[in-house]
């Protein structure tokens, strides 16, 4: 049951992801639609995903790929660490630390606590690197470019995905970590897929509670982890 949690969090949090990744999707959809529009005989510039379905698939595949990669790395790193005698005894504490981190990230998600500035500067570097890479990917019409875009998007700084990475790390197993992140990514796909279509569904009134639910679930997960690490919960 616990394993399905990332999926649920992804689903609930996808409404939040819409805010960030949604514009990205729209951005490349624009280019795709424009192209297909000139090909067809007039018709409105709707972002119908019929025209660019492969692009969308590629985008999401790229995202899932990057998530999976991150999850594998996180889980695998701690798996390796666990093997070494140094970290062996610290199983419980890793979970607890992970849990506390999750709680903290949940608070950041709720915007109750600002992200510490040293973390912000830490991500600024790779982020600006990405900033320079990404724009040409938007305009390219090749499907492969969208996959690259998806890959980059997966690395974008986002507290929710970070929380999931931490969760993956606590599994201390590369495979499990990978699955955690994949599940999360899968949960976020449906909403982003439908970006071009629905309007009222993703209004702020719906998105905001969705984000809150995600943040809450992250915090609850964090608590559970802490309790597990302390041995109170199995």
């Amino acid at each position: 049951m616990f394993e399905l949690l990332p999926l649920a969090i992804g689903f609930a949090g996808s409404l939040h992801c819409l805010g960030m990744c949604g514009p990205l999707v729209l951005a490349y959809s624009l280019h795709v639609a424009r192209r297909s529009e000139t090909m067809a005989e007039g018709g409105s510039a709707s972002f119908s995903w019929r025209h660019g379905i492969f692009h969308h698939v590629a985008f999401h595949a790229g995202r899932l790929l990057s998530y999976g990669l991150l999850g594998t790395l996180a889980g695998g790193f701690f798996q390796a660490a666990a093997l070494s005698s140094l970290f062996g005894g610290f199983r419980g504490s890793l979970m607890m630390i992970g849990g506390i981190l999750l709680v903290f990230l949940g608070l950041v998600l709720l915007k109750l606590v600002p992200l510490p500035s040293f973390l912000a500067t830490l991500i600024a570097m790779p982020a600006s690197f990405l900033n320079r890479l990404i724009p040409p990917l938007f305009r390219s019409q090749r499907v492969g470019s969208k996959m690259l875009l998806g890959l980059a998007a997966g690395f974008l700084p986002c507290c929710l995905s970070w929380a999931m990475i931490v969760l993956a790390a606590t599994t201390r197993n590369a495979v499990e970590g990978c699955f955690t992140m994949l599940a999360f990514g899968l949960g976020t796909v449906p909403a982003l897929f439908l970006v071009g279509l629905s309007t009222s569904f993703i209004s702020l009134k719906v998105r905001f509670p969705g984000e809150r639910v995600a943040a809450a679930s992250v915090m609850v997960t964090g608590f559970i982890l802490v309790l597990r690490g302390a041995g109170i919960l199995a």
């Binding site: 805010g19 729209l26 624009l30 915007k111 990405l130 900033n131 209004s203 702020l204 998105r207």
Partner: protein
Amino acid sequence: MPESYSSDSSRKEECSLCGLPVGRSGIEETVNGELLRFCCHGCLHVFQILFNSPEGLPADFRKTELYQACVSSGLIAGGQTDSREITTPEDFEAGFARELSFKVEGMWCTACSWLVKEILRRTEGVLEAEVFFLSDLARIKYLPHRIDPREILERISKLGYRAVSFNDLCDGADGAKGSRDAAIRKDVLMRLGVSAILTMNVMMLSFALYAGFFHELGRESIRNFSYTLCLLATPVVFYGGFPILKRAVLGLRFQSVSMDTLIAVGTLSAYVVSVIGMYRGSPHLYFDTASMLVTLVLLGKFIEARAREQVSRGVGELFRLAGGKARLCRESGERWVASDAVGPGDELLVLAGERVPVDARIIQGQTGKRDSFYRLDESILTGESRPTKKSIGDEIPGGALLLDGEMRVRATRVGSESSLNQMISLTREALTRKNPVELLADRITHWLVPAVLVIAAVASLVLWAGGLPADEALLRAVTVLVITCPCALGIATPLAKVAAIEAARSRGILVRDPTALEKVKDLDVLVFDKTGTLTEGSYSLREVVVAGGSEEEALRRVAAVESHSDHFLAREILRKARERGLTPFSEAHGRETMNAEEETCGAANEVADHFQYFEGLGARGNVQGEEVMAGNRRLMTSAGLTIPDTLALHAAAMESRGSTIVFYAWEGEVRGLFVFGDIPREGAREAVSALRSRNIALWLASGDSKETTGTIAKELGIYDFVGGALPSDKVEIIRRLQKDGHRVGMIGDGINDAAALAQADVGFSLGAEAGIVRDASDITLLAGSPAKVLDVLELSVLTTKIIRQNLFFAFLYNVLGIPLAIAGALNPLIAVFAMLASSLTVIGNTLRITRSRRE
């Protein structure tokens, strides 16, 4: 069309990319000179990716197609961010906003007011909301087509507070409101009573457990004790503590952490630990802590509510007065109407023992006494218990109590212009202003609660990790929670401020700005306006110089003539005559019914016939067949009368000192003259010397000539004076004094002193009788006596002293308590008592303001 999430004024704080609220993420970036906020770094980076494309920064990213696409698909709430360029439906709607003030009863700490504010702000249709705990007031701006005020009131009532609009407050007999209050109080008292009784039993039993006997008690006995304790404590925690728990839960729902949260967490922790301990058979139980906590908190709130009532009693009375009824006179007869329904010019009837409902002018009636004066008790407005005397033609303020007789009056100022309502709104404004110290205290309290929760949690975790048994660590945490409860801090300043405002009002001093009250004690220079402030008015009858006949005769005859005239000099003559009891008065427009006594007194009805008025010269009339004239030199000479030399010389001398002269004559001879000039007010001299003895420098500034000003200054004992001062000159005087480093107070009558009053550090205005309350002054002395400045001074010194003491006491307990609690030197019970003690100290100290009375 995307809808906005929140209808409150924080709409600016939405992420420029995704539109979700920014909260406290603190991520900002300036683009093209515009500050954009983001909810998370992800949004920031996406924004950079999207809009910082290699084509260069778009001049206005909002015009890009991408942005529009995002807006139309609902990702970004475009409406709000474009509000500067495009008129959104929200902006358009806001033009329809209306304001509503209402009373919220049942708030028992500042956190309740935050909660109510949050709820109000999240209600659809409410644009802004402000709630003031101490005055039980709420003020909102709402859209009437979106929400009905009744719904708003209901919403709050559902939470357990009573929301009452001011109109309803005054409906029906006062008993109705009283019984509502009584019902609330009875409920609290009931809970308190039950809790207290049960808690006492709990304490007894717990003492038995503590007292060392548990070593010798078998498991069986321990279990009996425990179950009994649990049985006794449960109703206390859940019935007595129900309001606290409910508010804590509500607060959680609306993310408003409050003192109730602290208490609830503390109580529930103690209770739960005890229940677990009970099952485990441990003798370490803390039911007494939980019960005592609830009981003492209830007690504290009860006492605080009573104190608030005491402190703000007068204000409530004012409100009651404003909502009264009036007896309207029509041709068809008399009718009772609400005071609000009275229009200007309406005729009203007021009987003895009744209050005048609105500002009005007396037109006729019976005084009920021998003389021609109506006696009114204006103490509710001016604080003076001595009755004032008014006559026909005089204006009386709404709220004055007629002591005897009956009178017909014509309403002059009604509704929001009436002096009573102006007083009320000023008082309300003063009560709801927060000075910087209070705002700071508010903010501290707001943050203190979550911080304390965190400290307590961390401390207990650390202690536990350090080896302390879990329940002991938990108990230390509970102690920390309890001792840090900032109840006292929340009321330290506000309660004193309300007490001060009310104490001032009961003395007839209207404080519009509480910070001004605090500044008063630092004043070292006072600038007085002359005319009307320190003096009665420049046209008071100072002297009657007679060449033939007596003063009384002169007054009687001239008064008879002047009774037809509306000139201010004429009125002054009439007034003086009446004061001396010389004429039965009658107004030119009506006839009074004389009673038998006055007939037999033999006072003839002296009203002149053949009245003639000459513009710029004077008046003439026939009194009992003789021609009487009153006027200036030209009138006399034009009638062919010569002025005797002695009189002429006297007149010249007086005029050179700025006085105004009116000659009077009858039977073909000039008989004397009236000298009109400035007389110092009653008590002005004493006030001046009292102020001087406090080392306050005094200045007199006036538009009148230097000679006149100088004369008055000397009479009063003021050394620095300026005559011939224009209003701008007065401002200049004050500014110069301020530049020299003085703190300057200005006392004037508000009309032509407005600028000077505003320039001064504290502006006092002397309220005229039917008080038009001036806007420019911080403090209004309603009684019209400059001696009241001393009262303000004393009050200011006292209030500041008490506020400082309150803050000290409030902090003392908290600051000392935390380290002691963590170190385990305090047990929760002591902490509970200490918390109550700090509240009581603050309350008791503040009541010193309310009890301080002059004489």
